[in-house]
Each structure stands twice: as C-alpha cells, then as structure tokens.
Symmetry: C2
Subunit: 252 residues, 2 copies
C-alpha cells in the first residue's frame, strides 16, 4: 500500500508589529488548526518585515515547495501595506484594480465618506487574482494560484478562512489524542521513543510542564489513521499504567 | 554622518506543536521584546517541524545573514528533541557531552532518581559550545558562536534570555511611541505616509481595530533616536488634531 499523499501549506506572516514584539501573533495557531480540518499540514512558517525583497524571497520559495501558501497582514490602505505589490512582484505580475473589489468597497464606504484613493488601494490585486470574501470590513482577501492573501487582524483572517472551508484539495484530516501524566518526561523518554517506533504512521510529541510545584507532561499522538491512533494511545496508556503512573485522558 | 549600524537577529522556533496549532507560540514576542532592549532587531522568524533537514537548512541561512540566531524548542530528553543534533550537523560538528552540563544535571537529579541515559541527553552539545544558565530546571541552554539554543517552554526561555542580558554586542535600543485615534486608518492613510517620509529614521506602523462597534487605529512610531521620535509624534499629533481627531497618547 502506498502511503497517502500529504498535502502541505506554508504560512507567511507579514508585519513589523510581530517582529517588534508589539503584537502577539494569533494567526499561526489559527491557520494551523483550520488546515488540520482541511487535511492539509502546516509545514513551515516565516515571519518577515514590511520589506518587499523579504516578502518576495519568502513567497517564491514557500509557494514552490508547498501545495499552498497563506499570507497574513499588509493588505490595508496605509503606506506600510505592501503585501499585494510584493506578491505581484514575486510572480512577475502587474497590479490592477479588481472591479468586484472596487464595487464591494464602493458599497462599504458609501455611507462612510466615500471611496478615497487610499481606500481604493484595498481593491488592488495581482493581475489575474480572484477575491476571497470578507463579510466583515469589505476589503477582500485575494487568491492568486496557490497563494491565499489574508488580513492580519485575526478575526478577519478567520472569516476569510471560513469562506475557504471545503474548497481546497487536501488529504485526510490529521487526528490527535492527548494523554497527560504527572511524570517527568525524562523518566519515560525511552518508552515514548520505542512506542512511536512500534506504531508506524503515528508521531508522539512530549510537552513537559511545571504546575503547582509538580512536573508532568502531555503526550500528543498524531496520525491520519483513527485505528492506528487508538492502538498507539492504548499501548502508551498500558505501558505508563504498568509503571504505576496514572494516565489522564485528554491531557492535563 | 553614517547611519548607525543595525544589529539583527533571527529566531528559529522548532516544534511540531506550534505547526499543529496545539500550542500558541509565546517566544516570538518574548524574544523580540528582549532583543529591543539589547539594541538588536529581530529581522526574521521561521517555524519548522522536528525534522533535521528543515532545521539544518534554516539554521545555516539564518545564522549567516544575521548577527545572531536564537532557537527555541527541542532540547529536552525525549526522542522528538533533535535540535542539538541538527545544529551540530548544520555546523559540521560532532555532538559531545559537556562536562559542566553533566555536573549540573547530576546535581539536579541527585534526589530525583539519578542521571539516566535519557536525562544525559540534555548535557549533549555541539563540540565547542558553551552553556547558557537555566536557573529553573537544570538543563542548560547552549551557545555555539552566534547561535543561541534556548528552551521551548516560554518561562524557561525567559530565564535563559535573562542570563544573556547585557552580554551581546548591539546598537541603540529601538524606541517606540504609540498614538491612538478613533479614526478609520483609510481616512488618514496619506497623512501617515507623508509624515513618515518627512521624518527620516522613523517608521510609522498603522494597526486598525474594531472595538465597541467603532473603528480606530493605533499608530506606532519607531526610531533609535529619541529626539526624532518625539518630533515625529508631535507632528503626527498636531496634524491629526488639526483634522478634528482626538489623539490618545500611549494608544487605545
């Protein structure tokens, strides 16, 4: 049996505010979780500044070696919003005003002072791109081939992802099970490694923590196969229990 | 006058748990803020999986084109902790047990079941590396040339950063001022761009938000020059006020 094809995506987070530490990124986790449901694996993330050359370099490598590339940030109306221009440049395309985006913005700003030159910037797309609906603020996201250009504001990015749900080709959704245990991970490290090896198609991640003065760890088992996942979780539970550790289903 | 040298750092976040969306990263913002205080600019971030080839590729490009590279994650005792091996491989170095790290771990585990083979993994370093103190859990961070290998658990990474404070060569700390305004950023986009142009050495970022049914934006001015920063903030405040907008010092 051939291994099932794994679909991958990269995420490019664009914005000085993330690199300066001013803003806590929320889009990595949000995009990752959404991709899991679509059967697509987030394979890599980059964060770059609002600098065209940095965006171009990242876009071209990430879109080439992954099935999909998502970007967040830099599609607003101000001078530091250069994502569209940079992505067009990365593809060797010119930037045009998309008539549908223009119409959407005209309606949105009709009662809000009209569609100024700055606001019209949000209708600019790489030539040939299509729009991703944004139910919230009017300014749409943009799809260009396998590149999906989303807003940086997390709840707007979420709406854009929602409108993409079910539209992308993917594989089997990634499944996961978490087992928690009040044990130092160093004490059962060999057991974890051996259990992962014994269950092909499963990965086990170990995430230690210190809480209320005690050490513990959560073990996250991931697989696209429900049966294999269950078998691995049962095996790990059995082994930990045999060593006298109490296993907490769904993690601590 | 020559522009002052800008010192840059990259951050490489290593870990499946970030890419799966299971864990919300905290290290990007934390490392960024610490670097600001050291006069070093976080220029780029990458997140990669627990896969040696992915770590090697990222380490070699990031450490070459930045003054410093920080990594977080993958230095524990379990099978998925491969950061040390990958960074050694990236440098063409072998991995050795550091005698001081071994001694620290022996003391730490003396009353906790002893230094097992798995725990000894945490004393392994690329040949020639030095240690970064970890007051918390015994397992030290690692410095290899311009590469700083930190823990993934944010509060342990914070302790390691603390022990590095003041030890790295940097430039002037980045200063910032935030001005808030209940105005759609699209309404004053041209003003922002022109103000940034008029104040060399200052960058203005614009971060819109929707709160309590109203739109507003925070404008973050950044510069290494206190005087220039003040002048830019005063100029922007004056212009926004002249348009009838109330400016909130320190942001909304």
């Amino acid at each position: 049996m051939n291994a099932p094809r794994i679909w991958t995506a990269a995420l490019l987070v664009i914005g000085d505010e993330i690199l300066s530490g001013r803003t806590q990124d929320r889009n990595v986790a949000q995009v990752a979780q959404w991709l899991n449901g679509e059967g697509i694996r987030l394979a890599e993330v980059r964060v770059v500044a609002d600098v065209e050359s940095a965006i171009v370099e990242a876009v071209n490598i990430l879109r080439t070696r992954n099935d999909y590339l998502f970007t967040t940030g830099g599609i607003g109306p101000t001078h530091d919003d250069i994502t569209v221009d940079a992505i067009a440049a990365a593809h060797g395309l010119s930037v045009v005003v998309h008539p549908d985006a223009r119409a959407v913005l005209e309606r949105h700003y009709e009662t809000r002072g009209g569609l100024t030159e700055a606001r019209l910037r949000m209708a600019r797309v790489p030539d040939g791109a299509t729009l991703i609906e944004n139910a919230m603020s009017g300014a749409p996201g943009i799809r260009l081939g396998n590149v999906f250009i989303l807003a940086g504001v997390p709840h707007i990015a979420a709406l854009m992802l929602e409108s993409l749900t079910g539209t992308l080709e993917g594989g089997r959704p990634m499944l996961s099970r978490t087992l928690g245990c009040w044990v130092p991970e160093s004490e059962i490290a060999d057991l974890l490694g051996a259990t992962e090896k014994a269950h092909a198609g499963c990965q086990i991640g170990s995430y230690p923590f210190f809480r209320e003065g005690r050490v513990g760890a959560n073990f996250v088992i991931r697989s696209t196969e429900a049966e294999g996942l269950d078998a691995c979780a049962a095996d790990l539970t059995r082994q930990l229990t045999a060593l006298g550790h109490q296993v907490v289903a769904d993690g601590i």
